[in-house]
């Protein structure tokens, strides 16, 4: 019974949270660069915080594949 209750609570939470986040993300998605747009430039540091990379440094050098994600 406790397991079913846990499953039910978790499912309710996941669905509610998902609706909220997906709505926000859909709004942001409208502003995301589309095919043909200039890719927003950026400079970021690696996990050590010492080595940086700037997207525009690769212009004329190599095309760039951007892989966005996280651990969870």
């Amino acid at each position: 019974m406790a397991i079913i209750s846990e499953l039910f609570d978790d499912t309710k939470f996941i669905i509610r949270f998902r609706s909220k986040l997906m709505k926000q993300q859909m709004e942001l998605n409208k502003l995301a660069p589309k095919t043909g747009d200039l890719a927003p430039d950026f400079t970021l540091y690696d996990i050590s915080g010492t080595e940086s990379v700037t997207l525009s440094d690769f212009r004329g050098v190599k095309p760039v594949a951007l892989v966005f994600g996280s651990y969870t």
Partner: protein, 138 residues
């Protein structure tokens, strides 16, 4: 096809950048549940190395530390760069929770993947890379 395989096949011709952004399912956010739900989700979704045990980092040092754990766990072989705490890059690309893009030599987007996880498709990125390189080689 996974990112690692894509990287191994194309890294000489394409620069791969792994951009670590805000957590998708932190414990203090859209957490994917406790014992049973977590088990069911891990069984259903093919992301065996994803973590379900992290809080959303609140400092850049914390985010870099978690990104480092992720890099070690996934072993893509692709260097990871970490979005700053203002989430600038994440917002600029509407990247959360996960997305793929391909940028050409002129700095233009030539492949804009859909929102992950359902539209996170390495096979489509592969096709875009192959098409672009074929055109470049003439």
């Amino acid at each position: 096809m996974g990112i690692q395989q894509l990287y191994e096949q194309n890294h000489k011709d394409v620069q791969f950048l792994n951009i670590y952004i805000r957590e998708a399912h932190p414990i203090d956010g859209w957490w994917l549940g406790r014992r049973l739900t977590k088990t069911l989700i891990k069984w259903k979704f093919p992301y065996p190395k994803a973590s379900m045990e992290h809080y959303d980092p609140i400092t850049i040092e914390e985010r870099r530390a978690v990104a480092g754990e992720c890099q070690s766990a996934l072993q893509y072989g692709v260097r990871t760069y970490v979005d700053e705490m203002d989430d600038y890059v994440n917002n600029a690309y509407a990247a959360w929770p996960t997305r793929l893009n391909l940028v050409d030599l002129d700095g233009r987007v030539i492949y804009a993947g859909g929102l992950g996880p359902y539209d996170f498709k390495p096979a489509k990125l592969k096709a875009a890379i192959e098409t672009y390189l074929a055109v470049q080689r003439g």
